[in-house]
């Protein structure tokens, strides 16, 4: 992976190394100039935070030009910050209120057993004591298996019952709803046929239905791909709004 990255980093676009350094230097000077302008205009701590956020954003976005050291530095900073933050939040929102305070202030001494039992997981690294970790793993497996039945029923059963749709107009149904129900049922049937492997798909009737199922799946994947493009643009728009509106104040 690292070799691949190094290769990518060494792939220089057109232009000499000197001109690239000059471009990077010019960009840095522009960035420092903009930061100095904002700090001079606002005179508060918030603006410093925004400048750091802007630098982080630009460093990450610089990846679209090519893989570079600034991008990698900020990638690592983000991972480190997220991990540090996770430790803090787990302590503040879960362990402090639910474990430490009852243990230290309310005299619930038996809560000391919780971390001791949890630490049994780590005996997995010792072949001699690994049986202790298996006790915990087995218990968790059992609990989860028990929950799985209810989870499946709660999530999937309503899906099954809602697949039985009226295919002929009755009551106050519109023709649009009838057509929609037909599309739904045909899609469901065709896709299920495509994933039914106990019958050879060469058989007449099965082959055509399975092919239709494949095409309908392709349409669904196309919709997912289109949604993904929209999602990525949305994230980029948010960063551009931050840079232009919140940081530089050149937009609303």
């Amino acid at each position: 992976m690292n070799d691949h990255r190094e290769t990518q980093m060494n792939q220089r676009p057109n232009g000499s190394a000197k001109s690239q350094w000059l471009t990077q230097l010019a960009l840095l000077v522009v960035f420092i100039g903009l930061c100095a302008y904002r700090i001079h205009a606002e005179h508060n701590v918030e603006v410093w935070v925004k400048c750091v956020a802007a630098l982080s954003t630009l460093a990450i976005i610089s990846f679209i030009y090519r893989e570079n050291r600034l991008y990698r530095l900020f990638e690592h900073i983000f991972i480190g910050a997220a991990t540090g933050f996770l430790v803090f939040v787990v302590w503040r929102d879960s362990l402090q209120g639910n474990w430490w305070e009852p243990l230290s202030k309310d005299g619930k001494w038996y809560l000391i057993l919780a971390p001791l039992i949890a630490s049994m997981y780590y005996t997995i690294y010792s072949p001699k004591h690994a049986w202790m970790s298996r006790l915990l793993i087995g218990t968790m497996f059992g609990l989860y298996a028990g929950q799985c039945f209810q989870n499946f029923a709660a999530q999937i059963f309503p899906q099954i019952s809602s697949s039985f749709l009226p295919l002929w107009k009755h009551g106050d149904m519109t023709m649009g709803q009838v057509l929609n129900n037909w599309v739904f049922v045909v899609t469901l049937f065709a896709v299920m046929t495509y994933f039914f492997f106990s019958i050879r798909h060469e058989r007449p009737g099965i082959r055509q239905t399975a092919t239709l199922g494949r095409w309908l799946l392709m349409i669904a994947f196309g919709a997912t791909f289109g949604s993904t493009v929209m999602a990525r643009f949305s994230l980029f728009i948010a960063r551009m709004q931050f840079l232009l509106a919140d940081w530089l104040h050149v937009a609303k």
Binding site: P13, I64, Y65, A82, F85, L86, V89, V90, R92, D93, S94, L95, Q96, G97, N98, L143, Y144, Q147, Q150, N151, A153, A154, Q155, P158, Q159, S161, S162, F184, A220, A223, T224, S227, T228, V229, M230, A231, F233, S234, L235, F236, I237, A238, R239, M240, Q241, L244, A245, V250, A251, K252
Partner: protein, 281 residues
């Protein structure tokens, strides 16, 4: 001419990225309010929020992080603003660590103009570590037992917003915002078991999967990506982040469509040339 068309297949990616930056940046600098067509799923979410019974609590499950802030942030903001406007109390909660911090910032910003107060109009239960299934199972039966303190360390029984909130029957709606696959936990442990109304705001990436739950009635409403936020703002008659971003979104989509057409013209031209040269041989 044919050479030029063939070259359309190999436009330098830096030119494409520059065009994307321009198509997104220019509408931010020069905003244009494009009409937003409201989908039935966004309307469903709006109605679900509006019809939360008096005295019931709304749970805002902010299961998103900084990486999906661009989509889930405006959605959460639109719903929180609507909750403040309609005078419904809510609790921010998450099974993802950073979500409650980001949602708290949004709630604080939105509360300023509307005179709402933390503790009275909303609370923040924070992030709950551990297995989400176990957490939600326990939460359904005993909310104060699971959420002992808020993010400031205040015991929740001392907060007026938590008055008469004991279990899931005191919750009128769960509004879950996410960019990852944690939604099923709420379906499996809360909506599916206790029938608590559930709505969702999700990133556009996972949206196609969520429509099945909408069709089956397990979801009462759905906001899809930034477009969903813009739809909700249209229903609330607010010019917010979502609507402001829609012009950039639309222009960027037009650019992508134009590039796809140009690339295909280039492909067609190169195939014709190849066909002509094969014929000459």
């Amino acid at each position: 001419m044919v050479d030029l068309l063939i070259r359309l297949q190999h436009i330098d990616r830096r030119i494409i990225y520059s065009l994307v930056i321009l198509s997104i940046g220019i509408p931010i600098l020069i905003p244009i309010d494009l009409p937003v067509f409201v989908s039935p799923e966004a309307k469903g979410l709006f109605e679900a929020v509006k019809t939360v019974p008096e005295g019931k609590l709304v749970i805002i499950a902010a299961d998103w992080q900084a990486g999906t802030q661009g989509e889930c942030g405006p959605q959460t903001r639109a719903v929180i603003r609507h909750l403040f406007q309609t005078g419904k109390r809510f609790a921010i909660f998450s099974i993802i660590p950073i979500g409650p911090e980001l949602a708290q910032k949004i709630a604080e910003e939105e509360s300023k103009g509307l005179g709402k107060k933390y503790g009275k109009d909303w609370v923040n239960w924070g992030f709950k570590a551990g297995s989400p299934l176990t957490t939600l199972t326990s939460l359904a039966k005993n909310i104060p037992g699971v959420v002992k303190t808020d993010i400031n360390g205040t015991p929740i029984e001392k907060l007026p917003a938590m008055k008469n909130v004991n279990d899931i029957s005191d919750v009128g709606l769960i509004a879950e915002f996410t960019g990852s696959g944690v939604f099923e936990y709420y379906l499996q442990r809360l909506q599916g078991v206790y029938g608590t109304p559930l709505v969702q705001g999700c990133t556009a990436v996972i949206a196609p999967e969520q429509y099945t739950y909408l069709q089956s009635g397990q979801l009462k409403g759905l906001l899809v990506g930034l477009r969903g936020a813009a739809e909700y703002e249209t229903l609330s008659h607010v010019m917010g982040e979502g609507r402001r971003a829609m012009t950039s979104q639309s222009l960027a989509h037009l650019l992508v469509m134009a590039l796809i057409v140009l690339g295909n013209i280039g492909l067609y031209a190169s195939r014709r040339r190849r066909g002509a040269s094969d014929g000459q041989r």
